[in-house]
C-alpha cells in the first residue's frame, strides 16, 4: 500500500485491530446467552434474537420516557436501561421456560420449531406495540463520538463500551458458573439430571433460572447493540444464524469454546472484510465455518466423554 505514511498505516492497523475486537465482543455478547442455554441445557432457542430485541426495545422505551419526563437524567439512563433490559428479558424467559420449554426438554428439534413460533409472535408484538419502523434510542453524549489517542486514531466509544460490557458480563458468567454454588448446581444438573435431583438440587428451578439467565444476557446484548445498530421488529432474526454459528463452532458444551470461536470468527470476518467486498467476506466466513464443522463436527472445543 504505497502512498501512505508509516504513521497512517499504524493508525489503520490499530483501528482495524479494534474493529476485529469490537466484532468479537458483539458476537460473544450475542452468543453467551445462547451458549448457556444450548450448552448447559441442550435447548435450541430460536427466539434468542427476539430476546435481544426485547432488550433493545426496553432501552428505547426508557430513553423515550427519560427524554420526556426527566431530560436531565439522559446522561445516566443508559446504565439503568441495561439492567432493566436484563431483568425484562430474564423475566420473559422465565415464563417462557415455565409455559413452554420445560415440556419439550426431551425433544430438542421440537423446541427449535416451537421457539421459532415464539419468535414470530414476539415479532408481531413488537410490530403492534412499537410500529414496524426501525427505532433508535437517543444515546447519552458520552457514548457518541470517538476516543482519539493520537490525531490519526479514532476509537469508537460505543465499541469500547460494548467491549467493556462484554468483558464484565463474561466475567460475571464465569464467576456464576464456575465459582458460585449455583453454578455448581447447574453443572451438576447438566452432567447428571437424575443424580442431581436425588441429592436435593431442585433441577426444575435450575433449568428455569438458567434459561432466564440466558435470555437476560440476550437482553443485555440487545441493549448494548442499540449503540451500534438499529432496532426493528425483525432485528432479532438478522442475528440468529451468526449467533448459532458462534456457539456450534465453539463446541456446544464449552464456554471457553464460545469465546475462542467468537474471537476467530470475528477476526476472520473483519480481516476478510478489509481485503474483500462485504458480501464475499460474509459468504467466505460462513462457508469456512461450515466446512470446518463438517470436518470437525464437535466444534473447536469438546469434552471427550466415556459412555
Amino acid at each position: 500500500m504505497g502512498g501512505f505514511s508509516y504513521e497512517e498505516l499504524q493508525a489503520i492497523l490499530v483501528m482495524q485491530g479494534f474493529a476485529g475486537l469490537s466484532l468479537f465482543s458483539v458476537l460473544l455478547l450475542m452468543a453467551l446467552g445462547l451458549a448457556i442455554i444450548f450448552g448447559q441445557m441442550g435447548v435450541i432457542n430460536m427466539a434468542h434474537g427476539e430476546f435481544m430485541a426485547v432488550g433493545a426495545y426496553t432501552t428505547y422505551m426508557l430513553s423515550t420516557i427519560t427524554e420526556t419526563y426527566v431530560p436531565g437524567f439522559m446522561n445516566y439512563y443508559f446504565v439503568f436501561s441495561i439492567i432493566a433490559a436484563f431483568l425484562v428479558a430474564g423475566v420473559i424467559g422465565y415464563f417462557l421456560e415455565f409455559s413452554l420449554i420445560r415440556h419439550l426438554y426431551k425433544r430438542p428439534l421440537d423446541t427449535l420449531l416451537a421457539t421459532w413460533g415464539v419468535s414470530l409472535i414476539m415479532q408481531q408484538i413488537f410490530r403492534s406495540v412499537f410500529g414496524a419502523r426501525e427505532v433508535s434510542p437517543t444515546l447519552p453524549e458520552w457514548l457518541m463520538g470517538s476516543y482519539q489517542p493520537t490525531d490519526t486514531i479514532d476509537i469508537p466509544l460505543n465499541g469500547l463500551f460494548v467491549l467493556g460490557l462484554t468483558a464484565f458480563v463474561t466475567g460475571a458468567v464465569f464467576y456464576l458458573m464456575f465459582k458460585s454454588r449455583w453454578g455448581l448446581r447447574v453443572r451438576a444438573t447438566t452432567q447428571n439430571r437424575l443424580m442431581s435431583g436425588a441429592v436435593g438440587i431442585n433441577t426444575k428451578m435450575v433449568d428455569r433460572l438458567t434459561f432466564a439467565l440466558g435470555c437476560g444476557i440476550a437482553g443485555i446484548a440487545g441493549a448494548a447493540f442499540t449503540t451500534i445498530a438499529s432496532t426493528g421488529p425483525t432485528t432479532g432474526s438478522l442475528y440468529i444464524v451468526d449467533t448459532f454459528m458462534v456457539v456450534v463452532f465453539g463446541g456446544a458444551a464449552s464456554l471457553f469454546g464460545t469465546i475462542a470461536s467468537a474471537f476467530s470468527i470475528a477476526q476472520a470476518q473483519s480481516i476478510m472484510e478489509f481485503f474483500l467486498s462485504g458480501s464475499m467476506a460474509k459468504v467466505l466466513t460462513l462457508l469456512t465455518i461450515v466446512v470446518i464443522l463438517m470436518l470437525r463436527p464437535e466444534g473447536l472445543f469438546s469434552i471427550k466423554i466415556r459412555k
Partner: protein
C-alpha cells in the same frame, strides 16, 4: 379538504381538457357531463356510468409494509381529492386494495386478480424492484396499466408501466455534478447494500465520476442486506481518504452504517457524505443526530418550500396524522393518480392503449405537484428536478441545491 393544491390541479386539468377539446374535436360538450360508457371503455374494464375501479397494490404486511405505507396513503389521498373534484370523465374512482404481503409472487398473483377478475382501469402500486419485476409480465400479458412510484435503477421501459419516481441517472448525475463543483470533490468512495439498485446506481456513478467529472473512485463496497458490521469498511474508507462518501445502504444496515460512522468520528463537519437512500422515512430509524450535516439526493423533500407542497403536507397530515412524515416515494406515489387522470382525460377514454398513447405524447404535465412542475416523457418516466439537501438534527433536510428539469433516460448511453 379542498386545498389550494388540489384546486390548482383541478384548474389545470380542466384547462388541459378544454384546450384539447377545442383543438381536437367539433363536439364540445360540457366538461362535467360524463361521456357514455360505451365510448370511454371499449375493452371491458370495470367502468360504469358513474364509477371507475382502480387497484392499489402495496404490501400491508411483512417486512416491506412500513416502506409501502406512505405510498399507499398518498395514493388514497390523491384519489380522494380527485373524487372530491368530481372524479375522472364524470366518474368517481373506486379503490380495490390488495396486499402484496412483501412476497413477490403475491404481487404477481394480486396483479392478475386486479386485472383479470376486477378489470381495474389502472393499478397504483409496487415498491421494490423485485415486486415490480414479478408483476410486470402479468401487466404486459393482460395489458394493464401500472403506476410505479419508487426511484429505481432504470433499465426498463414497459408499455404498461408509468414510472413516477426517478430513474437512476436523474437522481445520480446532478448530485455528483453538484458535489464536484461545490465541494471540489475529486475522490469518491462508493458503498451500497448488495442488490441491484445500489449496484446499478454505483455503476452509473462510477462512469460519471471517471468519464465526465475526471475524478477517481477510490473504493467500491457492497454489504449484504441486513448486515450491521461496518467497522472494517469504515477503516478502509479512512485509509483511502475520499473527498466524498457516496452511499446507497438500505434497511437495518442503514441505521448501523450511520451510527457507526458517527462513532468512528466521521461526521458531517469533517466529511462530505452523499446518500441516495435516505428519505424522511429512513431518518426516523437512523436518528437525526446521526445524520446531521450529511447530504441526501432526492427529487423531493418534505421541507420543500412551495405552496403546492405546503398544501400537500397539510392535507397528508390531516388524513394520516400529524406525526406522519413524507418521503420521496410517498410524493411520487401521490403523482400517480393525477398523471392517470390527466392522461385519461386527454385520451377521452379509460382504454389502456389509448391512455398509454396519450401519455406518450410528451405533453402530460402537472404544474401543481408538490415537488413542482413535472412532465411525462414519452419514455414513460417523468421530467423532474433533483435536489440536494442537508440533514439537520430534527430529522428534516434543508435543500441546498436544486437542478433544472432533468430528462429521464432509463437506458443511459455510456453508463451501461
Amino acid at each position: 379538504m379542498n386545498t389550494q393544491a388540489t384546486e390548482g390541479l383541478w384548474r389545470h386539468a380542466r384547462k388541459l381538457l378544454v384546450a384539447m377539446s377545442l383543438g381536437g374535436s367539433l363536439a364540445i360538450g360540457p366538461v362535467h357531463a360524463a361521456p357514455p360508457t360505451a365510448d370511454v371503455n371499449t375493452t371491458g374494464l370495470a367502468v360504469t356510468d358513474s364509477t371507475v375501479k382502480v387497484g392499489i397494490l402495496h404490501s400491508l404486511t411483512g417486512t416491506m409494509a412500513i416502506s409501502e405505507t406512505g405510498a399507499q396513503e398518498a395514493e388514497k389521498l390523491a384519489i380522494q381529492q380527485i373524487n372530491d373534484m368530481g372524479g375522472i370523465l364524470g366518474r368517481k374512482i373506486e379503490i380495490i386494495q390488495e396486499d402484496g404481503a412483501s412476497d413477490w409472487p403475491t404481487f404477481a398473483e394480486k396483479s392478475r386478480k386486479l386485472l383479470v377478475n376486477d378489470k381495474v382501469a389502472a393499478v397504483f402500486g409496487c415498491w421494490t424492484s423485485a415486486s415490480r419485476k414479478a408483476a410486470l409480465p402479468v401487466f404486459e400479458k393482460e395489458n394493464g396499466l401500472l403506476y410505479y412510484p419508487t426511484f429505481y435503477e432504470g433499465l426498463e421501459q414497459s408499455h404498461n408501466v408509468i414510472y413516477t419516481g426517478q430513474e437512476a441517472t436523474q437522481q445520480i448525475l446532478a448530485g455528483l455534478d453538484w458535489v464536484a463543483k461545490e465541494k471540489g470533490a475529486k475522490t469518491f468512495y462508493l458503498i451500497g447494500s448488495d442488490y441491484i439498485w445500489p449496484r446499478t446506481s454505483m455503476k452509473i456513478a462510477r462512469k460519471h465520476i471517471e468519464n465526465v467529472l475526471g475524478g477517481t473512485v477510490v473504493g467500491e463496497e457492497y454489504k449484504p442486506l441486513g448486515d450491521t458490521s461496518f467497522g472494517s469498511v469504515i477503516n478502509k474508507i479512512r485509509l483511502r481518504k475520499p473527498d466524498v462518501i457516496y452511499a446507497a445502504v438500505v434497511g437495518g444496515s442503514n441505521v448501523a452504517w450511520f451510527k457507526q460512522l458517527k462513532a468512528a468520528g466521521i461526521t458531517g463537519q469533517k466529511q462530505t457524505l452523499l446518500t441516495i437512500s435516505v428519505t424522511e422515512d429512513e431518518v426516523l430509524g437512523i436518528g437525526g443526530e446521526n445524520l446531521e450535516g450529511f447530504y441526501s439526493v432526492m427529487k423531493y423533500f418534505q421541507s420543500l418550500d412551495n405552496e403546492n407542497n405546503v398544501a400537500f403536507v397539510k392535507a397528508f397530515k390531516e388524513m394520516h396524522g400529524k406525526d406522519s412524515v413524507i418521503g420521496d416515494v410517498t410524493q411520487a406515489a401521490y403523482l400517480g393518480p393525477w398523471l392517470w387522470k390527466a392522461a385519461v382525460e386527454k385520451a377521452g377514454s379509460f382504454d389502456v392503449d389509448k391512455v398509454v398513447a396519450a401519455s406518450e405524447q410528451g405533453d402530460i404535465e402537472l404544474h401543481t405537484a408538490p415537488e413542482g412542475y413535472v412532465k411525462l416523457h414519452p419514455n414513460h418516466h417523468l421530467w423532474s428536478k433533483t435536489r440536494v439537501a442537508q440533514w439537520s438534527k430534527d430529522g428534516q433536510a434543508k435543500v441546498v441545491f436544486e437542478s433544472d428539469l432533468i430528462e429521464p433516460n432509463p437506458f443511459p448511453e455510456g453508463y451501461q
